[in-house]
Symmetry: C2
Subunit: 209 residues, 2 copies
């Protein structure tokens, strides 16, 4: 420990008292949080980490041996690393359905995009209804909703009426609709503060895919 970091006794006593107070306050708040229920979780915003954090939660469930399922609405062609790892090692715990055909500006075929989005939504409903699943990730569904390939009212109505009480459903993608945010329990907006693309750095293995 460097000299400047060495605390003096008074400082330590003051710090410890402050921390004890913080801990007591926190314990009091946490004691009121007693309910458990399956959450509707939304990751949106223009920043990075929406799908990555959602996949992190999927790996968290896998780590606990809890059955889960991923339905990819848009196949980015990039974030295939997680898919390969899940299919390879954890296929028994987590099912994986890639229904999309690439970003819409890559496919350039609207009727096919709509068909794919509808098929993905049908698969999503099936996975949500399966009570053995603890978490279902609907990756990039917000893109399909935004283009009206899937009706937001259908999605919200289905979640309200049919999501099993203890099942978590995670919906990702930018431009989440207000109706979805209203219906969600946990919403995080990933905000872009600084991006290396601006300095000419391309998408890289291990970061973007």
């Amino acid at each position: 420990m460097s000299e400047e970091h060495k605390p003096v006794a008074d400082d330590v006593a003051k710090h410890n008292a402050k921390m004890a107070k913080k801990k007591a306050a926190r314990d009091k708040i946490m004691a009121t949080k007693t309910d458990e229920k399956g959450l509707v979780i939304v990751h949106t915003g223009k920043g990075k980490g929406k799908s990555t954090a959602a996949f992190g939660m999927i790996f968290r469930n896998i780590a606990h041996g809890r059955k889960c399922s991923v339905v990819q609405f848009i196949k980015g062609g990039m974030s295939t690393g997680e898919r390969d790892l899940i299919l390879d090692k954890f296929g028994d715990v987590c099912s994986f359905h890639t229904m999309g055909e690439g970003f819409t500006w890559e496919t350039q075929d609207k009727s096919r995009d709509i068909e794919m989005a509808q098929a993905a939504w049908a698969k999503a409903k099936e996975e949500i209804l399966d009570e053995s699943n603890h978490m279902i990730l609907l990756d990039e569904i917000n893109i399909a909703i935004r283009y009206d390939y899937i009706d937001i009212n259908d999605v919200v109505a289905f979640l309200k009426a049919h999501k099993p009480h203890m099942t978590h459903v995670v919906l990702t993608g930018r431009n989440a609709k207000e109706e979805l945010i209203d219906a969600a329990d946990l919403v995080t907006e990933m905000e872009l503060v600084k991006h290396p693309f601006r300095s000419g750095i391309k998408a890289q293995i291990g970061v973007e895919w």
Copy 2:
């Protein structure tokens, strides 16, 4: 496909033209992004997903068989799922160092916290200097920096002088200091929009840990 979603031919042609234009614009932009380099990546903000997205990137590297390392500065006592999974299945690809002793208001011992944070930082430097690592995650280091357990100037100077060119370093935790944001290539702020704790829901398996 439902009747209302069936596109008419004109609509499709218009859409396809628009998407072709979008794709051309995007391809043009992407063609200018040709460089590769190891990034300094920061996840900050009050929202969820900072560590989860960082662990998602670690799993992405594991998926590609790329060696990586995690140094946890604060042991939350909660997000142990990922650690167990990594230690259990991927110890050959990813090393894992939990140096923290719990949140500061849990330990209530400032001199011990400082010692732990300094030890974690020493381990972090060692892992960063090891060029066989493609990515190093410094989980919750921002908390240790915020309390001045680690000097922000030391961190920034070390990254600038010693980070190998192709190594990615990910630093997480709320209240990232300005100096770190200035030094980073990619910064995402996870913003809290809605949180279920407000309605009395407790931290749950598969979501929070």
